[in-house]
């Protein structure tokens, strides 16, 4: 841990090195009809090796029928800002959920 990331809100990227294999994020579909779910990450020199390593590492016990690998640094993520403005809008908009509609409670097949 170096000094400059003291109390920083972002995660510093690992130092790129001459023979360091990049990091890949692995997503596994456990069954047909289900989404790919983030399973973890691994290191590999390129996409085809990343896929193969993911197969060996994350599906040894029949955990998957399909795998995606994505270079970790190709993922753009929402800002983890403490105030959470990014996710504020859906808050309070309960009318998007069925439970908001109480008067029809008890009506069958609704």
């Amino acid at each position: 841990m170096n000094e400059q990331d003291k109390a920083s809100s972002t995660t510093p990227a690992p130092e790129p090195g001459a023979h360091r294999w990049p990091l890949w994020e692995v997503f596994v579909r456990s069954n047909r009809g289900l989404s790919h779910v983030h399973a973890g990450s691994l290191h590999a020199p390129d996409a085809s090796m990343a896929l193969r390593n993911a197969r060996d590492l994350y599906t040894r016990r029949n955990e998957g029928v399909s795998i995606w690998v994505v270079p970790a640094d190709a993922i753009a993520a929402s800002d983890p800002d403490a105030k959470g403005a990014f996710f504020e809008s859906p808050q309070g908009k309960d009318y998007r959920h069925a439970t908001y509609y109480t008067k029809s409670e008890g009506v069958k097949h609704l």
């Binding site: 596994v28 779910v37 085809s48 029949n62």
Partner: protein, 282 residues
């Protein structure tokens, strides 16, 4: 909202045993007398089983020593696949003589082993291991594919499971041959050296003899696989800009129990504990 860390129902971590043909199933079938190999089929199964067993023994040595942790896991998988095939073939072979997989693995002497020399070749560096693995996969893949059509249903069933796994071994070793040949000067030098070291053992894999002739539809005639092997190798070698080594074939003799100097050490290590306690249960 609370995040569900530790949610054991997370679908991507589902763990199920699968339902493929297992060595235990074959051992059970043979014990119950549901499957009994003929003498010739047993001899043949012994060859295939010994190839896989000796290779698994070699590959397993890489676990905790591989060039990268991901490769520890990959080589471990291949070793486990080979060991699984070995157990199936040996269990079935043993049915002819009332012997278990362990009787055959641990209590035969060197001249009784029927594996070809390639499988007992020392691991060497990673390149030598990959060269050996590439040759093995290019041999085993068409072999098992053809064996799925064997007139012997048990051999066909074992091959049906094995061929899918070896398909992956073929892919794994191909990927590494391309990377080592097209990587750095150092890696290229090493993979060329690896193939030079292993190539003399290729010829033996495709030698026919009386047994393979007698087997007929039950087995696969080794020489019939050579053309496809050469094509498979040539495809990858062309892309990798590698030449087929000119090394002359070695004498071989593994199918008849004549092994290289390496075999004695391998067997001594593998068998030491079982032989210390003959008849013991583990």
């Amino acid at each position: 909202m609370t995040q569900s860390v530790g949610d054991s129902s997370a679908s991507a971590t589902r763990i199920t045993p699968g339902n493929a043909l297992r060595p235990e199933d074959i051992a059970q079938a043979t014990r119950q007398g549901a499957a009994k190999a003929s003498e010739d089929v047993a001899e043949y199964a012994l060859r295939l089983g010994d190839d896989a067993l000796i290779l698994a023994q070699r590959l397993s040595h890489w676990i905790s020593r591989a060039p990268e942790l991901e490769e520890d896991v990959a080589l471990g998988n291949i070793a486990l696949d080979q060991l699984g095939h070995a157990r199936s073939f040996l269990s079935y072979a043993g049915s002819a003589w009332g012997k278990s997989e362990d009787d055959l693995a641990y209590f035969r002497r060197e001249p009784e082993f029927r594996s070809a020399h390639l499988f007992e070749q020392p691991n060497g560096d990673f390149a030598a291991t990959i060269a050996r693995q590439f040759i093995v996969a290019n041999y085993q893949f068409p072999l098992y594919r053809e064996l799925t059509r064997s007139s012997d249903p048990m051999l066909a069933a074992i091959a049906a499971k094995a061929v899918k796994e070896v398909d992956y071994h073929l892919d794994h070793s191909t990927q590494w041959v391309l990377r080592l040949a097209g990587g750095t000067q150092e890696s290229r030098r090493r993979i060329i050296a690896g193939f030079k070291l292993m190539w003399p053992c290729v010829g033996e894999l495709f030698e026919d003899d009386e047994l393979t002739a007698r087997l007929g539809d039950a087995g696969v005639v080794p020489s019939s696989l050579r053309a496809e092997f050469d094509r498979g190798v040539a495809d990858v070698f062309t892309e990798a800009e590698l030449d087929v080594p000119a090394s002359p074939p070695a004498t071989g003799g593994g199918r008849h129990g004549r092994h290289s100097e390496h075999m004695g050490y391998l067997l001594a290590e593998m068998q030491v504990l079982a032989r210390e306690f003959p008849g013991a249960s583990w």
